[in-house]
Symmetry: C2
């Protein structure tokens, strides 16, 4: 079996980036007009390609990321299902959000024209892969696949944490494109460990939007570069979050033990390297919380941290932990073990008061890895003050009995303002790939809280509405024709329907 892990990957030159962007642009001019079925075939060929290579990809991924085999194997399945879900979306076809307002030629004082709208792809997308999900948020991950589903083409910047795996999956995508007769250049990959090639890509005039998953620092820098372009472009940067968990008093009393174990498991999973890792836990200052903390602490102590994904994630975790250890009003509760691998780290658990947390903005920043900060509040009022002090989050979780939730309605209602997803009695890790998922949230969780990077609505990051006024049936896109040949759901004169529109200018409703 061939492996790529010892190969050296050279930084993309500006010439290579120009070529990739130009080829992607040329491919876009063709691909954007492909019907849903044809695009779906391409996506399904990518999914089959990954499935066929599953056992070849796993060892490479383990070697490059230090993540476990079971976790990675599950991630491959998730990635394949995600691709298939987008293929199904394309085959069904209603995702284009067709909106039709029929003409009223007799309207006074002026006739009303026929106006029809649908979502159309925007151009070449630059995708920056993440390190922590080498399949699901990387080369053939949600950003690439939703861009391709939209009808866009992609220039992908591989994450330097897993270059060989990226090469292999890029090859699977390119093979799938050839097999399904996609235009050359529909997907290209570049390598860039340094800032210059990445910046060149962001500033490239043919790039029309950016998908990114990674650190706040990198996401912010991409956002700022893109805003300064001659033609500013949207940046969909998912930058992570501390994912606060509020445990309400009756629930803590009744099920504190169980919750401690669930949350600690969520916190410890893959050495905490998830953007939905629960990093802040808030509960009442009382004996139930003491008991909860003891159990949580035991889980931490018994755990052995593994090697982190990359050198920079490793050193960033070490620095962040060091900063917390030096904070006067933050105490360390417990510390776990670490494996003997290079870049292995110990999980940590800290505690502080509501007051300290509210007044020290540094404590609000994400520590990527297994670390949790336990905050105790003296009153309902302090819960609310903590909520008010929070930055934007991907998720906020509430554990509560029915009584708790009734008692804390105001808090829960307020928390909506701070997150994209609110979870009751669950853990934030494990992001379902569905229609209703919202994996995004107010800044600094993402740079655009209107959009998700997981779930089918992720496709709308890479489209915009185009409106067609007074087009003859013959020249309309299939999705907008009177006959509704694709049998999709459309909004016609304000009502959702699959019905067709009658001919000879009769008004529909």
């Amino acid at each position: 079996m061939m492996t790529f892990t010892d190969k050296k990957y050279s930084e993309a030159t500006t010439k290579e980036i120009d070529e990739a962007a130009q080829k992607a642009h040329n491919a876009f001019l063709v691909y954007r007009n492909f019907p849903g079925n044809k695009k779906a075939n391409f996506l399904e060929a990518i999914a089959s390609g990954i499935e066929a290579q599953r056992d070849f990809l796993r060892p490479i991924a383990i070697k490059e990321t230090h993540l476990g085999d079971a976790r990675l194997n599950g991630e491959i399945t998730r990635t394949i299902n995600q691709i298939k879900l987008f293929a199904d979306l394309l085959k069904e076809g209603s995702w284009v959000n067709a909106i039709i307002d029929t003409a009223q030629p007799e309207r006074k004082p002026l006739p009303k024209p026929d106006i029809r709208q649908m979502q159309k792809p925007i151009g070449v997308i630059a995708v920056f892969g993440a390190s922590n999900f080498p399949f699901a948020f990387a080369t053939a991950g949600g950003d690439t696949i939703s861009a391709l589903a939209a009808g866009c083409t992609v220039v992908y910047k591989a994450h330097p944490g897993h270059p060989a795996l990226s090469e292999m999956i890029a090859q699977i995508i390119i093979d799938a494109a050839q097999k399904t007769n996609m235009p050359d250049g529909i997907f290209s990959m570049i390598h860039a460990g340094s800032i210059e090639p990445a910046t060149y890509l962001i500033k490239h005039p043919l790039i029309k939007a950016i998908g990114f998953t990674g650190s706040f620092k990198a996401g912010k820098s991409i956002y700022e570069s893109a805003a300064k372009r001659d033609e500013p472009i949207p940046v969909y940067a998912e930058m992570g979050s501390v994912n606060p968990v509020f445990i309400l008093p009756e629930m803590m009393q009744q099920k504190g033990n169980e919750i401690a174990k669930s949350l600690a498991a969520s916190n410890l999973l893959s050495t905490g390297q998830f953007c939905t890792n629960p990093g802040i836990i808030i509960s009442n200052e009382n004996a139930d919380t003491k008991n909860f903390e003891t159990i949580f602490s035991d889980c931490i102590k018994e755990n052995t941290g593994d090697a982190m994904l990359t050198d920079s994630i490793f050193s960033s975790y070490k620095n962040n932990i060091q900063k917390l250890l030096e904070e006067d009003d933050v105490s360390i509760i417990s510390k776990g073990n670490k494996s003997e691998k290079t870049n292995a780290v110990e999980p940590y658990m800290f505690a502080t008061s509501a007051d300290t947390f509210i007044n020290n903005k540094e404590l609000h920043e994400e520590i990527f890895g297994t670390s949790s900060l336990h905050i105790t509040a003296k009153s309902k009022d302090e819960f609310m003050k903590i909520a008010e002090a929070l930055q934007g989050q991907l998720t906020i979780t509430i554990w509560g009995t029915e009584n708790d939730i009734s008692d804390y309605t105001e808090l829960i209602n307020y928390l909506e303002l701070k997150a994209g997803r609110i979870i009751i009695n669950g853990v934030p890790t494990g992001v379902e790939v569905t229609h209703a998922m919202m994996h995004g949230g107010p800044y600094p969780a993402t740079t655009d809280s209107k959009f998700t990077s997981v779930g089918t609505t992720a496709i709308y990051r890479f489209t915009r509405p185009v409106c067609y006024q007074n087009f003859d049936e013959k020249f309309l896109h299939e999705e907008l024709k009177n006959k509704n040949p694709l049998n999709i759901i459309r909004m016609i004169n304000g009502r959702y329907t699959k019905e067709s529109i009658k001919k000879n200018n009769e008004i529909f409703y």
Copy 2:
């Protein structure tokens, strides 16, 4: 009758802006939870208030804007209808885009949780009114009304071109708010002629998005300020466009005379002060085009330009015309008359070649006012090159017979990439307020091509999706409850339906 036109309006102080933003934030925390019917009552009270004051508002608007009475009276009707359309949208309720994926407790390896999503308002919106539509794009215009419809609250910066009218409409909104028991501070207005108070408002931490209609320069500056905030916020700036019109050969031959008259009328309307004014007209270099230009030119010569909206629009128009007159390869075709009013201007008509246009980027910039540049192309290929050279536009219009449109399919298909709205055989002025309207387009037409500032989907500028995982029926918002008490259209497990969801954890489909 009382008039306000001689009153002096003082610049808002930072203290006043702080107060307006804080009051709007406090109001938001209450208003955001109001049901659709209650918000609709408020909007309808604004509409009634404007209707009741129609005859009082018209003379003030005429005096401040120099626009004609019939035009302004029509604009009042349009504004009222726009408000009612949003009220209807709220009463119907489906606009929240409810998406529900029901739980699958038996799924292996892990149970699938119940996930439900809907659009929620984002906070306090700063709205910058336009000068050219003192009703429809100003105090109670589309930005303010769509923000209020979304459940957001508004701090409105009046346009200095019509301060008295703005005061009066602000009073109508505030009266309507009181009459319908809305929270205090739901809408405030400030005056600011200089850059400082406007910048202070843009940078205010309680402001969560900006709606703006006006010049490219001002829109770009707002966009850049907002991107540099500690918490960057979205800016929906509609900055105008040259709205190219392509006239295809057979149509030109058959109906050149008629089209010349229609387009000239569209170009001359309200001294050309529309963001959809057709500023660039492209056709073949031949005798038919010569004939078309003669008729268009006669319309220009016979027209008398009126006073422009503001001193700065007046001087900007004069400067832009002067620049065109000095261009070597641009020739003046004709010039109209001007009225005796202060700030009145003559309409102008210019011509140039495809080559000159393609190579001189200055010719691509909008001249706000009645000016048109007629470009002749030697071939189909030159049509395509012009299309490729175009910047982003609000609209692009094509005049063509069925044969023409078949012949130029590639061109028309390509033009989709450059505009928000494509019009066949019509004029770009006259923006219908409907569900399917897209009044927006790629940069520099707007700063966010995904969103429209006209039509019901304008509401989504001021919302974001929030996702609720594992919520008990009892604690879900009405829109997301199993029973569907509001009887709205929802996407449930991928299908649009008004049906309710069965109880006792049965899976719906």
